[in-house]
Symmetry: D2
Subunit: 351 residues, 4 copies
């Protein structure tokens, strides 16, 4: 089928390529004409404006936006201006599902169908396919199913889940109609919340392995720092690159994120050069806020988010308050900034 793509960054361009490979026709538009030209050279139909784009489609038109979340609202307004009742506007970016709910209601008044698609796959999506979570009406979903099937990974070599028989369900092919508008990004949001938790679990565990030799390093210390209790149990210099590779095979925690970890440590076993200031996108935050709204406990997901905040020193004033209190009640001087406290690192605390 024919579809238009607005926004030809890495994700948008790769989705277009994946669609064209499978025989779909793509009208492509971007504010940057070079991006349009690049895909035209690969066989896409270039558009010089939104109006031009709309003109190259026939009803019901299907337009996919793949633009930064910050400008989605504006682009959606511009796109809606060239669309008609019955057309379908897709947001495949990283929008907050609340914006989808609002936008869908606004566009519904014009008769335009709004579909939000949560898209997972990262830089590997072009080859692996993208996992798609689709919110919208049944009618819109059914109209776009052919392109969903193409963009998704398909059944692949993954073993079928026991108990599933007969024809393959969409979710077995990597796409799913999750419910009304907003639900696609809601499910993607929770997906990313889980992703933060899994990443943190792996990272914390590897950090512990990295410090399994604390009892060895302890011996090198000055007498000033209190000794690690039972250093005899922390004498293991563990090769974290080898261990993460090992766990990829046969272990309960084998996972794609572990594959990536193994690759990263293979490339750079000490991770030198990485400052460890971890960014976060909106989804992890929205997940925690949604959980708080509905009263669902998410201690692990929240902890993984807060670790990222702390990695960027957003805990600084809190830590200063703690040091200030300790100074008040016990006359404890904090460690000078340059002096790394080692494992055992306790000072007498008379409070």
């Amino acid at each position: 089928m024919r579809i238009a793509m607005i926004g030809l960054g890495r994700m948008g361009a790769n989705i277009v390529r994946r669609l064209m490979r499978d025989g779909h026709e793509c009208v492509v538009y971007d504010v940057n004409p070079d991006a349009v030209a690049a895909l035209t050279a690969e066989g896409a139909l270039g558009a010089e404006s939104m109006a031009d784009m709309a003109a190259q489609l026939t009803g019901p038109r299907v337009v996919w936006m793949m633009v930064p979340a910050g400008i989605t609202g504006q682009v959606a307004d511009e796109a809606a201006a060239v669309l008609e009742s019955g057309d379908i506007l897709i947001d495949g970016g990283n929008s907050n599902y609340r914006d989808d709910v609002r936008r869908a209601a606004a566009l519904r008044e014009k008769g335009i169908e709004y579909v939000d698609i949560g898209t997972s796959g990262g830089v590997f999506g072009l080859e692996r396919g993208y996992c798609l979570m689709v919110g919208g009406t049944d009618r819109a979903y059914e109209t776009i199913e052919p392109i969903l099937k193409t963009i998704a990974p398909g059944v692949g070599e993954i073993e079928r889940t026991p108990g599933r028989t007969g024809e393959l369900a969409p979710e077995e092919q990597g796409y799913l109609h999750t419910g009304p508008a907003g639900s696609g990004h809601f499910v993607k949001m929770v997906h990313n919340g889980i992703e933060y938790g899994i990443m943190a679990a792996i990272a914390e565990g590897l950090n512990l392995l990295k410090n399994a030799d604390a009892g060895v390093r302890e011996a090198e210390h000055s007498a000033e720092v209190a000794p690690l209790e039972e250093p005899e149990f922390y004498q293991f210099p563990i090769d974290t690159a080898a261990v993460s590779e090992l766990w990829r095979r046969g272990s309960v925690i084998s996972s794609w994120l572990l594959d990536l970890t193994a690759a990263a440590l293979q490339e750079n076993p000490t991770l030198d050069g990485l400052a460890g200031r971890v960014s976060d996108s909106g989804e992890g935050r929205w997940t925690v806020k949604a959980a708080v709204d509905v009263g669902v406990p998410v201690p692990v997901l929240a902890a993984s988010l807060f670790e990222r905040f702390a990695s960027r020193d957003e805990d600084q004033f809190a830590n200063q308050v703690l040091s200030a209190m300790r100074l008040q009640f016990g006359g404890h001087q904090e460690l000078p900034a340059g002096d790394k406290l080692e494992a055992g690192g306790r000072k007498s605390d008379s409070a």
Copy 2:
């Protein structure tokens, strides 16, 4: 090569089967003669006693114990009594690595090599192979490497990590010499700590999805309970079975634990009949304690452990204390036990 197995429960018996399939000879012993007989019928060499077992091996003897952690010490003593200097005693169970460190030191005095092997794979190990983390001396490791290669999953169909070239490293075949005695179970312990974290991340996320319809259920409520803020954003009845199946393909969080989740929800989409009282084995606990010892922050791993404790109502007295305080400062009556508070469920709190 020839090896003896002590303890013919599910894990022990399956490892014996996997070894025999690959041409190794297994002497088998268990306090339960029926277990011995069952494997003898499959081609193993039965032993009537530890002494009998030892007599059927030639030096350096290799003896693998696969017994419950609680009796490993006693079984190790009995086995050591029939072994000689140069022999190798393996603990493949779920021991605390601290016990390994102590036992290895004690057996070293007798010249017996102690090897601890952390084994992951669950009920699928017979077919998939077991991921093996091996602590011990170089000499012991080299001696038993042929059986490790057999028990491990091998390279399988898993894609090679970018940057790895040439001959396959042991970790690419599913086994690894992690360091001196104790390190095998240490690495396995951290593995399980990570497993708890990943499981919790998935479980919390699915719980949030399950409650994405809180705004719908809200409407059915009595006026007594405070309303959910912005119920319009929680109108999604999500099919968690379909979503967990979906995420198996192309998503960043695809993992074996997610495969199992999808299987469980396929089998029983509502999970009716499961009380949700989650047990924990020692490894999750030891992981947190080790992290505390060496001063490594593990908020996610700890939170996942504490969730399990709370699932078994070990938080009961703490919660009663909270209710009691609220009663004191605000005259707040707590909810009666049978009255499930819904999402919005807030009472005015004048403190």
Copy 3:
């Protein structure tokens, strides 16, 4: 000075009483005429309607609303309808500070000054006074300062903070102009977030004390449950009522919440009859959401909130997912619902 109070529940009525004791004149209004009559009998000026109330005041009128958060918006609209430019409308309830920001902007257009006052003190406020956090313009704050001074606790017997000299600052008397409209409830919100954290810290600690005899109870167990490691270190039957009383004197954690805990345990040492289903009001939730918005890590405040959710079994589906996974990978049967797992409670976990 003269002031009107709308809403004569416990908090509103007690504030009126505290004001009248100090010589202020109070016009009182409530939808319930009995509540009006009760205070009229104590010397207040009763109003039969909002219009009647407004008529008994002279400009700039000062009207204090003390009504449930859910109806504040509606009451504010009704009150604003009888007020004029230059008048001051105070919300002393538990509103979300975001509503204050919006309401203040709306009323500003009519020339009405909106002031939000976060009020802490619980049932003890009548005697102790209420701690007041006041958001609004300088002009509004200065106008109402006489009544703030009366409602607040005053300097009391609390020792002056070292370094503070000269005239007493308002904060030393228990009230503070925290900034523009919204800031009063913002500060109160964070106050309650901290309150949750402190309460949880005390409750968790007492729960641990309560279980310091786990090694004694262990002995009574069936052989089925795995033993507590090192039961010899958990042989203490601690009297939590006595300990919480003790800590009130000279200890670093002495606090008003500890006073209340001691009182509660003195009254009911076992806390029998409390189900431990802990409610939460909005402030704890808003605190976590605000922290997520601005990227400030609040692991302790969030954990204390999630504990409350879990106390009401909002973790149920997550726990069922965990049990379901364990069943899949290890064939682990979960504990039957009635069978309390004791301290050591671990089953072998072969994963």
Copy 4:
């Protein structure tokens, strides 16, 4: 009565002073003769050796050790060597209660009574008195009760807990016989665990207040960083020194730790000069480990401990692993070390 004190550091010397003020006789010993001389000048009986100290006491001798936890074992051995059956040896330091349990058992064989006293009070103890948690036999406790009464704060001006009548219980005077040997330090350990939680709750809350102006600072930012959602709700420049002072009066969270916070912020409102590298003593760690042992969930106490670890960059390798994973799956470059990410600070995250 007459008592000996070993270890004349700040705590030991101040306890001696408090005892002498109340008419007790103190024999004092320290490896540093100057410390002995200083107290002799104030009226204490100096001892030149442990033997000399023992000679100046009559049976049952009472000897209090106030020495760093690291050397308590050795000092206890030396003291025991000069004591006889029926004598009482007190450890008033910060020992791990497990050491008490072991030491008490060892000394019991010699007939020496071992008493462990957890002592809270910090630098203020000389004037305020010390809160005492006492583990040991009934006989030993009764023998030393006169000195406990002196050292403890006494009933003071603290209001009596409702329901308590008649003669004052020891816990109302600031000391308590908590149970057998070890229980004193166990209760003190939990006390400090709670202390960490309360401190963290206050610190996190103040950090949020400090960032309540994120929406104002946002405006100054480069276009590169994603904007804070809804900056209009984060426009409050809060005076944290004034707020912490305010909360001391009438608020639910008034507490001694808040008093100290107010004092610290009065002295240094910005906390400039404090690096925020927060040390931890053993008690917070032991509390978490004990909770893990007995299966009691302590998410708040654990989170407060882990925040301290993270403040000292012990999370560094974990954060590097997270950055490395992000680089793998999405090509996300982390922020350069010097570039502080502001509140909104999200980059697009296409996973």
